[in-house]
């Protein structure tokens, strides 16, 4: 196989970073369930923050988000504020209490707080959400490999599976966490270098966050010349109430995603859980404040290079991407000129179809950056996809190995058997995820977009109420989840497939907020109408609310508690 210079650099960086991940895995291998599921609760806040950031920022954030924003303009803010604002909810309303709870999984909390039936529902939901997500990540690995290295998508997925299988199975949560720290470093460097280089070519100040305002206003004029809406004008793609509800749904949904919540179980203390949420959002913000700048630079370059130009005179980078099928020209009026641009010709008519996915990937080429930078972007995309995949696979593995096998069916299992169950569950999950990556089921692409609404309408309300309102009981929570979830799912189905007109222009992506409100209200009234939760559950809530409170005595015996808190760390 003949490699181009770019492919050679991509292979070089991919090989180098994979070697790093595997080295980390070998050095952090674990032999206990506490190490396997919660990394011995010994991850310092800054490292945990980086791990959360890598866990959170998937192939979609790294590859697709800037492209989506560049076609949405102002309204692209739904992703920016939605996916960062959720961390404030998470940090204030969930993270410290779930850390104090201190068990291994999200279903653990739901099960202990409410009932065994609720635990099972939580397991099913966690596995379902995680699988729909992880299939996209494995696909992302395959696509990056096929574009930058020139192997088939299937071969790319298999390489990715082999790497994840190795470090997740031997290292568990501990291996995954430290690998994610490395992956964050790789992905952020790979994102920032081209962004700063491009900012340097188009603006006086090479800091994307500062310089893109002026360019954005130039882009306003450029878009109008080309018959598009002003870039910075709000609500040109979605009405205001929909922007509001979609942003809020993404916020609430983010706070309810199991693979992010479990990361807070790995910190040494409640205090560390609070700070790690701050570090996580800071690390995420570095990419999320750069992305809208990248979107503006790329859209400007794109319009300058091709809009209204003769198709025959198109630049080389367009020819390269046409070969991948991600840019397609259809000269509907046969005048040989590129008259309009669309992200997706099936929904919006336009002569030149530009897949939003290429914005980040093609940016270095459009700006004429050297081959090593393009190769580095490939390694960054792989890091983003692999880190998210491993976090999700751990959730699936722990839901099956811990919540189902140990908690429900084999409570007498030994530590050794439980650890083996966890390893086997993750290995099985990797194989299933790989299969979905090679043969993506049609529903995956759609379901991921709606997973946030479903998470918002189901888990967030009952976990928050479970902590903040002692009176919440199992009947209320079950009734709330069932009504909130079925309302949300039905509305999504009816507007997407049932031909129903959306109410008040609320898109199916934004309905999760309404579902969450229904869930809150139903949980409240049903709990009120039925018996209060038992005394031991009320004691559990009391314990979860205080950073240092084990039982009735420990609040007055700090030295005993210090031993308990310090205990697990001493083994590290």
């Amino acid at each position: 196989m003949e490699l181009t210079t770019i492919q050679a650099w991509a292979v070089f960086f991919a090989f180098l970073t994979f070697a790093l991940y595997i080295t980390i895995a070998i050095r952090t291998r674990v032999n206990t369930t506490a190490g396997f599921y919660v990394a011995e609760q010994g991850i310092p806040p800054v490292a945990n923050g980086a791990a959360i950031a890598a866990d959170w920022m998937s192939a979609a954030s790294f590859i697709s988000m800037a492209g989506l924003i560049s076609f949405l303009g102002f309204d692209g803010a739904i992703y920016l504020i939605g996916w960062t604002g959720g961390y404030v909810l998470l940090a204030l309303l969930l993270a410290p209490y779930l850390r104090k709870f201190g068990k291994y999984t999200v279903p653990d909390f739901v099960g202990d707080r409410y009932s065994e039936a609720a635990r099972t529902v939580a397991v099913v939901a966690a596995v379902f959400v995680s699988f729909t997500y992880v299939a996209g990540q494995m696909r992302g690995v395959g696509i990056v490999f096929s574009r930058f290295v020139g192997v088939s998508i299937t071969a790319g997925v298999i390489i990715g599976m082999a790497v994840v299988l190795f470090y997740a199975v031997i290292g568990g949560m501990k291996g995954i966490t430290w690998t994610q720290v490395a992956q964050y470093t790789v992905l952020i460097v790979a994102y920032l270098i081209p962004a700063w280089a491009i900012a340097g070519t188009v603006a006086d100040i090479p800091v994307p966050q500062i310089s893109f305002g002026t360019i954005a206003r130039e882009l306003d004029g450029l878009q109008q010349d080309f018959g598009l809406n002003e870039y910075t004008a709000p609500f040109t793609n979605r009405p205001m109430q929909d922007v509001f509800l979609v942003a809020l749904t993404l916020m609430i949904g983010t706070a309810g995603l199991p693979h992010i919540i479990v990361r807070f179980y790995t910190t040494p203390s409640v205090r560390a859980a609070r700070y790690s949420a701050g570090w996580a959002l800071l690390f995420i913000a570095i990419l999320y404040t750069t992305a809208p700048a990248v979107a503006v630079f790329a859209k400007t370059n794109l319009l300058n290079d091709i809009a209204g130009q003769q198709y025959s005179a198109r630049p080389d980078w367009v020819r390269n991407w046409e070969a991948t099928g991600l840019m397609v020209f259809d000269d509907t009026n046969n005048n040989g000129v590129i008259d309009s641009i669309t992200p997706d010709a099936t929904t919006t008519p336009g002569e030149m179809t530009v897949s939003p996915d290429i914005i980040v990937l093609a940016n270095p080429e459009i700006a004429g950056l050297p081959a090593p930078v393009v190769g580095l972007v490939a390694a960054g995309g792989l890091a983003a996809a692999l880190s998210t995949a491993s976090g999700l696979l751990l959730v699936i593995g722990s839901a099956i190995g811990h919540d189902l096998y140990y908690k429900r069916f084999r409570p007498e299992a030994t530590e050794k058997q439980r650890l083996m169950a966890g390893r086997l569950a993750i290995a099985g999950a990797v194989l299933v995820a790989g299969y979905f990556g090679v043969r993506p089921p049609g529903f995956v692409g759609q379901v991921v977009a709606f997973a946030f609404g479903l998470a918002a309408a189901s888990f967030f309300p009952i976990i928050v109420l479970g902590i903040f309102w002692k009176r919440t009981n199992a009947h209320g929570a079950m009734a709330g989840v069932i009504t909130g979830l079925s309302f949300t799912a039905l509305y999504m189905w009816a507007t997407l497939y049932g031909g129903m007109e959306p109410w008040f222009d609320i898109s199916p992506e934004g309905i999760g907020t309404i579902g969450a409100i229904i869930n809150f209200v139903v949980t409240y009234f049903v709990s009120k109408a039925t018996a209060p939760p038992p005394a031991e559950v009320q004691a559990l809530i009391e314990e979860v609310r205080h950073p240092r409170l084990g039982d009735a005595q420990t609040i007055r015996l700090p030295e005993q508690e210090a031993e308990r808190v310090g205990g697990p760390r001493a083994t590290n």
């Binding site: 102002f74 002026t214 916020m251 949420a277 609310r545």
Partner: protein, 116 residues
């Protein structure tokens, strides 16, 4: 004696929880105003103001709100450190928080000690 200790704990625990909720509510109000009111509901009028090359509504929605969210979480963590110490429910042996306990948290913990 033990009875009064337990009652004291209950009172203190309720006070702690109230203080905790107070911190959260004030920060969530800022979160809502910046992330939803300024970034979405008032975006159109704010866009008429241009600062540093940016239409203000656009800047808040795509940059400013994100910075505010980061700062809010760190303020929360800092303020809860203080509340934890004040009500003596802070965790032991976790670095910098410990030092401040010795000075500011002294009074309440010695009062508790007398109880035993």
């Amino acid at each position: 004696m033990a009875q009064s200790g337990v009652q004291k704990d209950v009172r203190r625990s309720e006070g702690y929880w109230r203080a905790n909720v107070k911190v959260q509510v004030s920060l969530l109000i800022v979160w809502g105003i910046v992330g939803l009111v300024l970034a979405v509901l008032l975006a159109e009028p704010l866009n008429n103001v241009v600062i540093g090359g940016f239409p203000l509504g656009f800047w808040i929605a795509q940059q400013g709100a994100i910075f505010v969210f980061v700062v809010l979480i760190f303020i929360y963590a800092r303020r809860m450190d203080r509340v934890d110490e004040e009500y003596d429910v802070h965790e032991e042996g976790l670095g910098s928080a410990r030092k401040r306990v010795q000075t500011s948290g002294r009074k309440s913990s010695s009062a508790e000690g007398g109880d035993r």
